[in-house]
């Protein structure tokens, strides 16, 4: 089938305007017509465009994407950009940042990119080997050094394998404490919601990256336990947690109940949904 025939099929699937845009982007990425035809076919069966093209812009960065690692979302891009202005670290006095469930590494990498050199030493943890591998590749692609040993002239990002749900996480020697900034976009989809996900999500992205326990809240409780441990957060530390539709108030309460957070606020995403819970230690 010709590319144009496939385009018209794609239009009836995802709408004319979206199909035209995606067709253009695929054409730009395809090296020849057969390539393009193969891409549209994959798109037609529901594969996310980001996996077909192998990348996703995130702020000024262009990150590699590869199944089954979760594709960075525009909602995340928005709050991380806002966070980069909310906290203003200065060069040569690096703050210590920990990102829980780092996936592609998008959150710490964007902050490393936006903040002045030597302003942050970031560590990301994930249980998925595929995610760790991809985060490391993305760091290299973005020119972010992958070692904390160096002097203070550069921002650095280290991706390591560790489990958020492990009650002994705070004892992990690779995670240096106290932490000045804790970020996470943990899996937050509940059982009920999981079965209503579009095929492009549930069929291609890691269930481990999406499923947050029966009510989608398991990871928030684990993160609360982690910050409750003595010496985890530095005084004045910032905690930023992405939440699912309708979870913000519950997560806000969970954070407050740790007794370690003095002030909380909720940030909306550009679509008007409560998306990020911010806590200040």
């Amino acid at each position: 089938m010709s590319a144009t025939r496939l385009l018209s099929a794609l239009r009836s699937r995802i709408g004319r305007d979206q199909a035209n845009l995606e067709y253009k982007w695929m054409t730009q990425a395809a090296s020849h017509e057969l390539d393009l035809v193969a891409m549209i076919r994959r798109r037609l069966v529901g594969e996310p465009l980001q996996f077909i093209l192998g990348s996703q812009p995130f702020g000024p960065l262009n990150l590699l994407t590869r199944p089954p690692v979760l594709i960075p979302r525009p909602e995340t891009e928005h709050w991380v950009t806002r966070l980069s202005q909310f906290i203003s670290p200065v060069a040569h006095k690096p703050l210590r940042l920990l990102d829980l469930g780092t996936g592609t590494g998008c959150i710490p990498l964007l902050l490393c990119h936006l903040w002045p050199p030597g302003a942050v030493k970031a560590t990301g943890i994930d249980v998925s080997d595929a995610a760790i591998q991809l985060a490391i590749e993305n760091a290299a692609l973005c020119g972010i050094a992958a070692s904390h040993d160096d002097n203070c002239n550069k921002n650095t990002f280290l991706a390591i394998k560790a489990n958020i749900l492990d009650p002994c996480l705070y004892k992990n020697p690779a995670i240096q404490r106290p932490i000045d900034a804790l970020t996470s976009n943990p899996p937050y989809i509940s059982w009920k919601e999981y079965f209503h996900l579009p095929h492009s999500v549930s069929g291609y992205e890691d269930p481990k990256a999406l499923f947050g326990g029966p009510f989608g809240m398991d990871f928030y409780h684990a993160i609360a336990d982690f910050i409750t441990c003595d010496g985890t957060l530095s005084p004045g530390a910032v905690v930023a947690l992405e939440v699912g539709d309708g979870q913000a108030n519950k997560v806000q309460r969970i954070l407050t109940n740790t007794g370690r957070i003095k002030h909380t606020e909720i940030w909306n995403d550009p679509w008007g949904k409560e998306r990020t819970v911010i806590g200040l230690a």
Binding site: Q50, L53, I71, R73, P74, A209, G244
Partner: protein, 345 residues
């Protein structure tokens, strides 16, 4: 001497350097002419011949200076000379035929940019299925590109038989073009003297349901609204939200800059009785007639007989040179009127 007075006025009108040069040159030539005149009656016929030649040459030079050099010094330097251009093309009357013509025009301008050595970026473009372009925004980067292209603003009309027309009837379609000035300001966000960041509403365009982890549809379109003026700019061509935002701000800045320039011009016009007309963007400025193989620019009343030489050759530049000259003549007239006005005071 009459001239000395004029010089004084000229100096006020323009930076003195080029004026000083012209004046020196005038004086030198004038002096040589005086010297040569005495040799015109020399006893030696050979010397007389030489003197005649030189006399002729010098008086030509002086006439030339009077006719061209001095008047051109009266034209104030263009305030927009350093600016690049942003061109917005929109298909108007004529449906798909208008879009096909827009594609022709776009190619014409890209070719021109190539010849001029300007860098071009297609900021946004929506293609039609028939191979036309519904609308496009193009950036022309290069000094003088705005001054060269600004006269392209207006309605361009095409008269031809569409390929789809079975009866062979000539259709008339139009494309509207606006050329905006592009300043070399910091490219993304941030306040500038053109707007305050708080006055710009940044919105996303499509609904996303629950959003977040539930949805992995590409979503990068943005819309800006400049609240004080009501100007809106939408951008969706890039996969990068960041990039779309940058480009939308670029277009917004250009539109505001354009507004500012025309406001300044209006003010000047109001206070000084200016002869310079404001450009009317709904005005039909040029007709591309295929059956008669001609292009006519209605503002200067000039027709170029070979249509292809405009669309695919370098005849477009002929129009541009004429348009610019036409503008400079108006400015000159204007300066002289103002001058009369001043000396009458």
């Amino acid at each position: 001497m009459q001239f000395a007075q004029d010089i004084k006025r000229l100096k006020q009108l323009k930076g003195t350097e080029s004026l000083q040069n012209a004046w020196n040159q005038w004086n030198q030539n004038h002096q040589s002419l005086t010297e040569t005149t005495s040799l015109l009656t020399d006893a030696d016929p050979g010397m007389r011949g030489l003197a005649e030649d030189e006399y002729q040459h010098l008086s030509n030079t002086l006439t030339d200076m009077l006719k061209k050099t001095f008047p051109s010094l009266l034209i104030p330097p263009s305030e927009t000379a350093g600016l690049s251009a942003l061109m917005e093309l929109k298909s108007a009357v004529g449906g798909s035929e208008s879009s096909l013509f827009l594609a022709n025009l776009l190619r014409m301008y890209l070719r021109l940019a190539d010849a001029k050595g300007w860098k071009t970026v297609i900021v946004s473009k929506s293609d039609t299925d028939e191979g036309g372009v519904k609308d496009a925004v193009v950036e022309f980067k290069g000094e003088g590109s705005y001054d060269d292209l600004r006269w392209e603003s207006g309605v361009h009309r095409v008269q031809r038989v569409p390929t789809t027309e079975a009866q062979g009837r000539v259709h008339t379609s139009t494309v509207a073009i606006i050329v905006l000035p592009l300043s070399e300001e910091a490219e993304s966000g941030g306040d500038s003297d053109l707007f305050n960041m708080e006055d710009v509403k940044v919105e996303v365009m499509r609904a996303r349901g629950a959003g977040g982890q539930h949805v992995n549809k590409t979503e990068s379109a943005v819309r800006l609204t400049h609240i004080p003026t009501g100007i809106t700019v939408s951008m969706q061509d890039e996969r990068s939200q960041h990039q779309n935002r940058r480009r939308a701000f670029q277009v917004l800045r250009a539109r505001l800059m354009d507004r500012k320039l025309s406001q300044e011009m209006d003010e000047r016009r109001a206070t000084r009785n200016s002869l310079i007309r404001s450009a009317d963007r709904s005005e039909k400025i040029r007709t591309y007639n295929y059956p008669q193989d001609r292009v006519t620019d209605h503002r200067i009343g000039r027709t170029i007989a070979n249509l292809k030489s405009v669309l695919e050759g370098d005849a477009l530049e002929d129009f541009m040179i004429d348009l610019r000259r036409n503008y400079e003549e108006t400015i000159l007239e204007n300066v002289l009127v103002e001058g009369d006005h001043l000396s009458a005071i």
